[in-house]
């Protein structure tokens, strides 16, 4: 984890690219008050440092035929190292699983699953999730409405800089 010291311009760059990753370097440079050369150099540095992990298109789930989002809490049996890894690897490989976290609280894992509809989810639940190694309990919470999604990360201001 090579610590990277972000200055104000870096933060502006990151904020801008979170909002619109397709900004041309010229536009970005203008937005952060730099000329294109140093701006591009900073972006490349941020990428190389791993601060920017990638650029992704955000799709309309409904439009893509994926009308149902489900948050799935999963409890697994006391995991030995090996089976824990097996479970994680299985989860990562499932295309329907958009995100997965090991969490504290009621469940051990919290997955976000995206499918076309209820019928599709039933198939996925009974045919795939329930058959994963070590699963002892599954709780499905259906997304009824999306209030906010893909919100930008709240980049903190550098120490000692007021707002």
């Amino acid at each position: 984890m090579p610590m990277y010291r972000l200055d104000t311009i870096d933060r502006r760059i990151l904020a801008a690219l979170q909002r619109d990753a397709r900004l041309s370097n010229v536009q970005l440079a203008e937005e952060v008050n730099l000329s294109p050369s140093p701006c591009l150099r900073r972006v490349r540095q941020l990428e190389a440092a791993g601060l920017i992990r990638g650029y992704h298109a955000e799709l309309d789930r409904g439009g893509a035929g994926l009308g149902l989002t489900v948050f799935v809490g999963i409890k697994v049996e006391r995991h030995h190292e090996a089976e824990a890894n097996a479970f994680r690897e299985a989860v990562v490989a499932l295309p329907e699983v958009v995100s997965a976290h090991l969490v504290s609280g009621e469940s051990d894992f919290l997955l976000q699953v995206v499918v076309a509809d209820l019928a599709d989810y039933e198939r996925f639940l009974t045919g795939t999730l329930l058959r994963l190694p070590g699963v002892s309990d599954i709780r499905s919470n259906f997304a009824i409405q999306t209030v906010k999604e893909y919100g930008p990360l709240p980049l903190t201001r550098p120490e000692g800089e007021g707002r």
Copy 2:
């Protein structure tokens, strides 16, 4: 919701842009087996149709000083239309809230919150979340490990196309 009929090439374009939104149109065209002109035209159409909602940089949360992700379940009192909206709007406006859904099950809302550390979360919880209008119960689940994140949507194949 003007239904948009996606063909195989559209799906390839969407898959490619989910993976890497910074692909040049030339590269993208090559990847989907089209020449640049029609490729760019399709991308523009997908954008105009709302299928592509935007392009975002994915940042390293830790590197950006945001070391703690929390999934927060919130119960709200029997909502009248007005207060329900008030709650939603408040949530949308919070920078720490990266996503928020109205869900079925135990909680009414499920938020994903990103902060620097536990101290930061305590401040946010007591100073902000607990003061939101109508909140009756809050359950915080801390992300201990991220197994998968920003997974691409599982684009289905056009009907009648095997894999």
